[in-house]
């Protein structure tokens, strides 16, 4: 969990309770650090105090990290303020009237509700499970590195649509791709070679020149997309 911008005694208390419950908490006192942590894709919830980031800050977080739960903090229970914060994008609102146990339980509940649904991507007999670290073809494990698996996952979840290099880079590496960076091309080249060796021509990564790549899966002459 990330505590965005400055921490306050109240948000510190929530952070302490979350740590006691076994969660990793990062407090970013400066906005650039918080932005960087969010972009890394390793944050699964953000706690922000509207008194520090402003109501517009809550809305901005919601827009910038659509897949990540945004939790707002209130110093005291107020039905109107809870409704306002939920309306502008908060997924949950905690307040000082709740016990630490309830605060932690609510954060965990919102994390469960927002958990990504695409940890497993499938394209015909091909499946990539990021949690288990497995890429399978007809139930047979493919010998891919973690990076190659992530690239394959990102391509498979796009269902045959071309994925732009920049998008692929952001999904797999978690950052913006610098102009001229060939990381995606090199990893796709290696992945292609391994797929040809392990699967043959039934799985192909096609290049759309100047744009990106798309995954085509054929099995028994059926295009499974």
């Amino acid at each position: 969990m990330l505590v965005a911008d400055e921490s306050t005694p109240s948000t510190d208390a929530v952070a302490k309770a979350m740590r006691a419950a076994g969660h990793s908490v990062r407090i970013s006192a400066r906005r650039p650090q918080a932005a960087l942590a969010l972009r890394s894709g390793r944050v699964d919830a953000v706690l922000a105090d509207p008194a520090v980031v402003g109501d517009e800050g809550i809305g901005e977080l919601r827009a910038r990290i659509p897949a990540c739960p945004v939790i707002a903090w209130l110093p005291r229970a107020s039905s109107d303020r809870v409704a306002e914060l939920l309306a502008i994008g908060a997924d949950e609102v905690l307040h000082a009237g709740m016990s630490s146990r309830e605060q932690v339980a609510r954060i965990e509940a919102v994390q469960r509700r927002r958990a990504p649904e695409t940890r497993i991507s499938k394209a015909g007999p091909l499946s990539v499970d990021r949690d288990r670290g497995e890429a399978m073809w007809h139930g047979r494990r493919l010998p891919l590195t973690a990076r190659e698996r992530d690239v394959l996952h990102a391509l498979a979840e796009s269902h045959g649509q071309t994925v732009r290099r920049e998008v692929l880079y952001r999904r797999v590496w978690g950052y913006a791709m610098a102009r001229g960076d060939r990381t995606v091309d090199v990893n796709v080249r290696r992945l292609r070679a391994k797929l040809v060796e392990a699967v043959g021509v039934l799985v192909a990564i096609e290049t759309e020149p100047g744009v990106g790549y798309r995954l085509i899966v054929r099995d028994n002459a059926v295009t499974a997309l």
Binding site: R39, Y175, A176, A178, R179, D181, R182, V186, R190
Partner: protein
């Protein structure tokens, strides 16, 4: 130390020509390493060997300079030229080493462009250093080196700008590539220093 009165001037020519070939070969291998990274067919140790060969040739030139009464050019010019050529191989080796040190996952197009310029520039240096006996083609090679160095400056500036265009580029990538772009730029700049040194010799002796 005794100074030899019988001139061995041809040895200077041969050693400078060999140093030029060595610098060019180091640049050529470094270019292959960048182009093929992370599955480079050329290990860094081969570039390192050439850098050591460059050091050996420089030491031999200095030894000859210290033992010869008669030298083909001014002693200061020979010293400056030998040191400048040695720097080229040193900087090429440094850039090649960073590929392994920073665990580079894939090349950047701008670095490949810098490598292309570096290979062309060192080819011109080889030509210039091989012409010291009669200076045939030396002026053209010097002009070509200066033109390539200008091109290298433009590519290096564009390369560094590319790292800062988007504020969401990974800081790790920025640190890695800024260092590499600058190392390649130093190697190309060192070629221009050699061209200046050759130019001094040509002006005084041609």
């Amino acid at each position: 130390m005794r100074l030899a009165l019988v001139p061995r001037t041809t040895e200077f020519y041969d050693l400078f020509a060999a140093a030029g070939r060595t610098a060019h070969e180091a640049a050529r291998l470094a270019e292959i390493r960048f182009r093929e990274t992370p599955d480079a067919s050329v290990p860094h140790s081969r570039v390192k060997e050439l850098e050591h060969e460059g050091d050996r040739l420089t030491a031999e030139i200095f030894d000859l300079l210290n033992t010869q009464y008669v030298t083909p050019f001014d002693r200061e010019d020979i010293y400056d030229l030998a040191k400048a050529v040695d720097d080229v191989a040193d900087y090429v080796e440094e850039a090649s080493d960073l590929l392994d040190l920073y665990r580079i996952e894939a090349p950047m197009e701008q670095a490949l462009e810098q490598c292309r310029i570096l290979v062309e520039t060192t080819a011109e240096l080889e030509r210039a250093l091989g012409s010291l006996r009669n200076f045939r083609g030396a002026r053209e090679a010097i002009v070509a080196v200066k033109r390539l160095e200008d091109e290298g400056d433009r590519v290096a500036r564009d390369a560094i700008a590319a790292l800062f265009e988007d504020e969401e580029v990974s800081p790790r990538e920025m640190i890695r590539w800024k260092d590499i772009f600058e190392a390649l730029e130093r190697a190309i700049d060192a070629c221009e220093t050699v061209a200046h040194a050759v130019g001094n010799v040509v002006v005084k002796n041609a």
